[in-house]
């Protein structure tokens, strides 16, 4: 009699354990896929700050960035990129790529105080990034060209706020003749 109850209990216990481990494995698999996607394919990020006005708002816009273009070198001038800051490695910033290696970039050194321009040739393995709002942006004009390996992703789509949802234009510059 005791043996029978013992065997029944074993049977129930086994099926509970089997179901629990099955569900845990499924959840673990899901998180693995999520992590791989986030690290190697596509991630979303929230950007705040004035340096990319008018493309991104001061208070914070959410957007999607994909990582494959960076790995395969398919970024070019005019793309908005995610990059790790060369001044604080724990910070990731959003800026517009303006020049690849060996490109000649002309930039306004200090637009608040003067119109003086400077031209620089981007060294090998580096890129030149600037914020769309050059009046209030800390970018390559202050810390110089950044090594290509600091790039983390290419922004392709804005997802928040909902009324600004959509893919981002390659170049945020408006036509000055219009």
């Amino acid at each position: 009699m005791v043996g029978l109850i013992g065997r029944l209990w074993n049977l129930q216990y086994k099926s509970i354990v089997k179901e629990a481990s099955g569900k845990t494995l499924a959840v673990a698999k899901f998180f693995c896929v999520l992590h791989i996607t986030n690290t190697y394919l596509c991630t979303f990020a929230l950007a705040y700050g004035p340096s990319m006005i008018p493309t991104f708002n001061l208070t914070g816009d959410m957007f999607l960035a994909e990582r494959l273009s960076i790995k395969f070198g398919k970024v070019g001038p005019g793309d908005i990129v995610l990059l790790r800051s060369p001044e604080s490695p724990r910070k990731v910033m959003v800026k517009r790529l303006l020049g690849l290696e060996s490109h000649s970039v002309t930039y306004v050194v200090d637009p608040m105080n003067s119109d003086r321009c400077d031209t620089i040739v981007v060294p090998k393995g580096h890129v030149w990034v600037e914020g769309d709002n050059i009046y209030n942006s800390r970018d390559s004009r202050q810390f110089g060209p950044v090594p290509y390996s600091l790039l983390e992703g290419k922004v392709f789509c804005k997802i928040w706020p909902p009324k600004e949802f959509g893919s981002l234009m390659k170049s945020g510059m408006k036509d000055p003749d219009l």
Binding site: R84, P86, S88, P89, K124, P147, S149
Partner: protein, 131 residues
Amino acid sequence: MSPTFNPRARNFTDDYVLVEKFCLKKYEFSHGDVVVFCSPSNHKEKHIKRIIALPGDWIGTTHNSHDDVLKVPKGHCWVEGDNSASSMDSRSFGPIPLGLVKGRVTHVVWPPQRIGLVERVFPQERVSSFK
């Protein structure tokens, strides 16, 4: 990085090392850490060198046979190979952003006779940090 890694050229096997990535959560390194980083001139290459100076340190270098003292900028570090005679490091490409570091080398795991901890050593007489 001879003799820390690959002490004899044209050996049967290269040294294999263990690289830990937990240090990338805070990017806090110490003087003498051996790190793996992406080359600043070619994003497809990775190098292994030792961190000699951290952000804010003053490092003594020799530039065109003059002795020079440089301040390592914020967010950057100065890396050098242990084999200074033949090493492409910060003495040629300058300080590198810490964001380029991809891991810290802790142990040599192969070949078996060289298994062991990678020591933290650096030339203290060339670096001064005022903190």
